[in-house]
Symmetry: C2
């Protein structure tokens, strides 16, 4: 069972919008045993959309389109789909009622353009869009099907989970699915090429329908084993077990969960709490720690001490110490971590201070130098890292280093 | 002059990686007067890559590929390009020297797999990759060209800016470029459909080669005027001027710059400084304010008061007040904003407190309710918003509301 995604919108092709939808949809499709074969981004242009539809139907059984369903003139997807499937628009009273309900407290939205949203292609099956005005549309082409949904990420996600995926699973395709299996682990502290040499014999022994991929990012390499229908859960787990054994000196996780989720679970298990004192990471680490629901159980708060006055007055770093050692130093991060732990009253405190650039670097402490400290009930640890040259890369990698450090401390306790 | 991007990698099609490269590349191509026609994401698979190359060359003059250039077995792009262009690999001594220089302090990386990185296709022009081991490759196919570069975002960005784009501009294509012009403004406080009705006459009068697009996100609608070769700067500016006049009641910016950049510039101009006190936004607002280089001129620090104890002990919110009014209330955010302004010693203080969900909502204060306050030298303002139902959406929108509020205060002063 193969699917393709066509994302429709000029904004994707002039760089105004990053396509985050496709990765999210890809993950869900894989979980349902549907292989995503290709993603294609096209303009809001009749000929271009039609060509992409033809090509996608040539390769795949299911075509998912996102975008181009707004009430404004630049959105043409519905009209092009009408033409492609040889149908025309009719009024849908259920959609009309839904839109009236949706905007009952905002009568200004119920204008004549919004009214075009309850015009739907006659041959399409219409599924409700619980959180928006553009209806979801399913078209059939022989044994194949096309689902059209909005490009707004949160509307698309609810549409996929509540309507499109259940529809696909319950429809004609339900008995044809193959089992796609993935297993992912995460390692750190070894170059990608050295890891590949370590795993050379293992890779040579792998059956041809098992695939190993290396995904390096922010100092962590994710190793993914994939089987597209040729293997049972037990078989892939056996191969995964060997992979874990071979990489055990570098292993930090044996799931694909983001590191902040893994750390959060461990903190919750231990009933431990955490606070951060951030200079170069500027709140990014805090934001990661409370990104997911339920984080209030372990994450209590942070002080972002971007300016030195905040380090001195809120985190009690002596001005003299900053003068002597510099603000990016072991001495300063230790005090920051210990102070925030005490100030907020948590079990752990993490501090970061570094040079994110582009300016501020020196011969001795070039851009990318980051000092980090972890204050724990058993003492304070500090470490210095060199994390690259670009601002965003440095702060992203610093957050990962902070989480890796905390993970090691939590596991060793 | 038309370009296409082919992003190569299984990770994109199983959802392990979001493709942020394409949007970045799209923007750069547009700035150089090169239209990006299509983006295609394909598997690390020989047949799939070859089919995508054939299709892309059928539509475009320039094909840019990213990914699949690592030293590990799953990366096959270089080999497939060799086959596609009928050539074979040879040793490149310059690349070899570069890689030795790059890793001179990390001899463990200089293993036999890394050594495969200085094998390059004989017919390709090789451009240096300043920050990585995979060389950049340019292939010619008649009048058309293909550039292959790594998928690691920061390597790709440096490759594009320093090597690939200058090469394209100085090559055979230099005289054929058309002028692509974009103008973007940002509005808030009006539904998309009402905005379209407001602009109906304007859109009907627009010449056929001028295009207007609506891009709603997080409570802001970006309106983009585009001309693909049919208009001069002066002409599009005249149309843009009319658009600004028509939308002036809702206008918050007449550039496409992110709101935090616009606010940062205004703060710098005024020599003003800012701090934040964040509950539901959890450091995201801080992180936005210091995302860009030079932010230390105006952004000083934050207190993330996720737990109530932090609100009480660090931000001096009376426990009694939380008990009486609740933590998501006008009273509490006012004290938070004023306290953080005083604690950090800045001109402005912004506070957020809301229910990001999924739990914690009530009849009176459902998930999505966010109270916000702006403490200024002239007094404190507070406002309540209802920002949706999903955690990430609520916190993203709250950050935008905080910046819009600050922008209005800065403009009215």
């Amino acid at each position: 069972m193969r699917a393709e995604i066509i994302t429709i919108g000029d904004e994707l092709l002039i760089g105004q919008v990053v396509d985050t939808n496709s990765a999210w949809m890809a993950e869900r499709l894989n979980e349902c045993g549907i292989e995503l074969f290709q993603v294609t981004s096209v303009h809001d242009n009749r000929e271009h959309i039609i060509a992409a539809l033809d090509e996608a139907f040539g390769r795949a059984d299911i075509v998912l389109t996102t975008g181009g369903l707004g009430p404004t003139k630049d959105d043409i997807t519905k009209h092009v789909l009408c033409e492609y499937f040889g149908t025309h628009l009719i009024e849908d009273m259920r959609v009309r009622a839904h839109i009236h309900e949706l905007y009952k407290e905002r009568p200004d939205v119920l204008n004549r353009l919004t009214a075009t949203q309850w015009l739907v292609p006659e041959c399409a099956e219409i599924l409700p869009n619980r959180v928006g005005s553009a209806p979801l549309m399913i078209f059939h082409k022989g044994e194949k099907l096309l689902a059209s949904m909005p490009g707004v990420p949160y509307e698309m996600k609810i549409a996929m989970d509540e309507q499109i995926l259940p529809y696909i699973q319950q429809s004609v395709f339900s008995n044809q699915q193959s089992v796609i299996l993935h297993r992912t682990l995460q390692v750190t502290g070894i170059p990608e090429s050295s890891l590949a040499i370590l795993l050379e014999d293992y890779e040579n022994e792998m059956p041809s329908d098992l695939h190993l991929a290396y995904l390096p990012k922010d100092g962590i390499i994710r190793l993914r084993l994939s089987s597209y229908g040729g293997m049972t859960e037990k078989e892939i787990d056996a191969w995964f077990g060997r992979l874990k054994e071979l990489t055990k000196d570098y292993l930090i996780a044996d799931t694909d969960e983001p590191l902040e989720v893994i750390v959060g679970k461990l903190l919750k298990e231990k009933g431990a709490t955490i606070a951060t004192a951030e200079s170069c990471t500027g709140g990014k680490l805090a934001s990661l720690l409370n990104k997911h629901a339920g984080s209030s159980a372990f994450y209590w708060g942070s002080v972002v001490s971007y300016d030195n006055s905040v380090k001195e007055q809120v985190l009690n770093v002596p001005a003299e110490m900053i003068k002597t050692h510099g603000v990016v130093s072991e001495e300063v991060v230790r005090i920051m971590a210990e102070s925030v732990r005490k100030l907020i009253g948590t079990d752990f405190g993490i501090a970061t201070s570094g040079i994110a650039g582009p300016s501020g670097g020196s011969e001795e402490k070039p851009v990318g130098t980051v000092w980090m400290a972890w204050a724990t009930p058993k003492g304070t640890y500090a470490e210095c890292f060199h994390l690259g040259k670009l601002r965003e890369q440095i702060t992203d990698r610093a957050c990962m280093k902070a989480l890796i450090g905390l993970l090691k401390i939590l596991k060793n306790e």
